[in-house]
Amino acid sequence: MSDILDILASAGLWAAVLRIATPLIFATLGALLCERAGVLNLGIEGIMTFGAMIGWFAVWNGADLWTGLFVAALSGMVFGALHAALTVTLGLSQHVSGLGVTLFASSFSYYLFRLLVPVEGTPPKIIPFQPLHIPVLSDLPFLGQAVFTQTAPTWLAIVLALALAFTLFRTPLGLAIRMTGENPHAAESQGINPMVIRYGAVIAGSALMAMGGAFLTLSAFDSFIPTMVQGRGWICIALVVFASWRPGRALAGALLFAFFDAFQLRLQTVMGGALPYQLFLMVPFVLSILALAVMARRARVPQALMQPYRRGER
């Protein structure tokens, strides 16, 4: 018991929570934006992988870190445009198209990586984002170590969550996006073009997903490994449901999952002898399923989610 309290009292745990949560926040916001406009984007896993690769590659080639993040976002927009073309213009199944994008983007990023980067014993490294020193705050006892030791993209992710919440619920554009996800015919009868809204949401959302992936190579770690996204995209799809399609709750959900993850890592080191470590690895996922079961039962799904919109057809 005292071991567990020690873990909870360590600043390192809380610093890790924010770090682990950051890619999840980016990608969950991206998935949420797509779904609010009525498009499920299962391309997320592949888009994150590609973003991680291309962002890293840009920096490895001499671009600065922010440019790397930007390049990743651009690549996400391209895959988003592909997914939108398949699901919005052609009205194909969003599941199938999304999984196709994931398979394609994951393999393609590995392929490009092999093609562009010479094979060496250890993967090449870049110098990642460094913790941002915030005057006064970072020097606070405990809090300074626990909270204010993050890199700039983490703060960007949190600001983006607030910005997305504001956009969706306080601006005419956000209302148009939500209406498109609920009833595109109603949106159209009020002079909004649901096709344009869906394209925009999928492209912007996919850019966020790719930025989440790029955080892994540009901040959390310093090199690219093809399998490094490790199902984070699928976690984000579940987090969107957990969050009932609300950005604020998505932020909270990502932090909660990251807490479980950071906690189990530390638990392994103190209790690892007694139990197989795979059990600890399961903890965040099991707890996520439980949280999902409790939270998502009353969630209100966007009514037009996964329904292709065809003009003039009801």
Partner: protein
């Protein structure tokens, strides 16, 4: 002083081989209510879709307040002051009333939405026209009547001067419909011009100033409401004399279905409270009442979809306890559900599949569905019951309401059931289809079928039923004969005043 706000001039529209609108002209004045009357397929909706810019006319033009409307542009129509209330609402159930109304009314690039202003404007319009709503309610929590009010408010919020309503009462209960028409008259008095599409003679006569009758894509007549009659309009609309069939006297046979003090409790609510009724072979028992008083529960109970909480059900003289759907079908009980699109058919499946679904074991050979026999069965229904607009293999969604209902009737009646449970069988159908459905029900009665007719249409029950019971708050009145009672007394019975039922039989 009259002032023309809308002028539709010589408009035609062709879809493939059919001329949906043939040189139609129509004008509307300020403060006037016009009814566009016609059967399904007469071209009413096509005409209104062109007015709203969903379709482009092949020839002719439309002008609003003296200005020609650019064709095929919904936005231009909205800006010109035309508001459309569709039959299927264009609303989002998960958004609030205010959000539904405000969508698309501000520039999309405004940095924030001025909700306070939107709310004030909505409340002002709501007060001016007496259309009460609470702006923060979630739309999906509202009743259908309230949702329609939101649709109307949405149009008014967009500064509509001309309101077009496509079959506004198709989804409303009678009470809601009366309320809505009251509102429309108020709005017309305040200078709004209104066009509503309908095929119901009663509401057209009661509400419209002027009635334009469409048939086969042409305007066949225009009458002032004060100068015409229901009979004349019915003739004009159908193009021939339509007579609803009348029940001839008959002697009912043995009691086939009897309920004694049956109570049905669902989710803690008593939907049926100790109801008694019996049904004889070769008679129609009408259950009249305002919807929402237990009719749905009664239909579910007799159709095998609900379990009684207390009381006794007897089928052909034998106590049966609770019925399952399979037992109900096996016992020869046919069912016509109240909501045919939701409970009656599966829209995306073929007509033949819908035909055989509830008797699948009969159409199974060696564990496989006998497609050929199913198609043949569907063909027999289509021929025998005059179902138009589809082949056995076409999706049932493509049939009109009337033809879909004929198919459901045929599926039940073709095997001569002993009992038919018909819930609102003619709801939403046009005059010709209503007559056809009534004719079929009476034919079944002649053939010895016992019919339980659940309806909120007084005329229908008076015309078809041998005995009538009113349902209010889950309780059934004693039965009365239609001969000894008038519509007013029946209305009182529906309101729970059972004094009129003293001539109980």
């Amino acid at each position: 002083m009259s002032e023309t706000v809308l002028d539709i001039s010589q408009v035609s529209k062709r879809f493939g081989a059919t001329l949906a609108n043939d040189t139609i002209s129509l004008s509307l004045e300020r403060g006037e209510i016009i009814a566009l009357l016609g059967e399904n397929g007469a071209g009413k909706t096509t005409l209104m879709s062109m007015l709203f810019g969903h379709y482009t006319p092949d020839s002719g033009h439309i002008s609003v307040m003296g200005r020609v409307l650019p064709p095929g542009r919904p936005k231009a129509a909205i800006r010109a002051g035309i508001g459309m209330v569709h039959q299927h609402f264009s609303l989002a159930p998960n958004l609030s009333v205010l959000e539904n109304v405000m969508t698309g009314t501000e520039s999309l690039w405004r940095p924030w939405s001025d909700r306070a202003k939107g709310r004030a404007r909505l409340m002002e319009i709501s007060a001016r026209f007496g259309l009460k709503v609470s702006p923060d309610a979630r739309l999906g929590d509202l009743s259908v009547g309230e949702q329609q009010r939101v649709e109307i408010l949405k149009a008014l919020y967009n500064d509509a001067k001309i309101l077009v309503l496509d079959e506004p009462t198709a989804v409303l209960t009678n009470v809601e419909a009366e309320h809505m028409f009251g509102n429309l008259k108020d709005m017309a008095r305040q200078g709004l011009s209104i066009i509503f599409i309908s095929h119901k003679l009663d509401e057209v006569m009661a509400t419209a100033d002027r009635i334009v009758v469409l048939r086969g894509g042409r305007v066949v007549a225009e009458r002032r409401a004060v100068e015409t009659s229901k009979a004349e309009l019915a003739g004009l609309m159908v193009g021939r004399e339509v007579k609803r069939p009348l029940r001839e006297p008959a002697t009912p046979g043995a009691v086939v279905l009897e309920a004694k003090a049956v109570t049905l409790r669902e989710g803690g609510v008593e939907r049926l409270k100790a109801v008694d009724f019996h049904l004889r072979a070769g008679e129609v028992l009408g259950i009249i009442g305002v919807s929402g008083n237990g009719q749905a529960a009664l239909a579910r109970l007799t159709g095998g979809l609900a379990r009684r909480s207390a009381g006794e059900i007897t089928l052909f003289g034998q106590p049966v306890g609770d019925l399952s759907v399979r037992e109900v079908v096996g016992a020869g009980i046919g069912r016509i559900p109240e909501d045919r699109n939701h409970d009656g058919v599966i829209g995306e499946m073929a007509i033949w599949e819908n035909g055989v679904l509830e008797r699948l074991p009969e159409f199974t050979r060696g564990g496989l569905v006998d497609r050929k026999a199913g198609m043949e069965f569907a063909r027999r229904i289509i021929e025998g019951f005059d179902v138009r607009g589809g082949t056995p293999a076409s999706r049932i969604r493509l049939l009109s309401g009337g033809n879909m209902q004929k198919l459901i009737l045929g599926r039940n009646l073709i095997e001569h059931p002993k009992i038919l449970i018909a819930a609102q069988p003619a709801r939403g159908l046009d005059e010709g289809a209503v007559a056809a459905v009534h004719e079929r029900i009476l034919a079944a009665r002649r053939a010895g079928t016992a019919v339980l007719l659940i309806s909120e249409d007084l005329d229908e029950v008076m015309a078809l039923a041998d005995r009538i019971q009113a349902i209010t708050g889950g309780r059934l009145s004693p039965p009365v004969r239609p001969e000894g009672i008038n519509a007013r007394q029946l209305g009182l019975m529906m309101a729970g005043e059972w004094g009129a039922a003293e001539h109980a039989v």
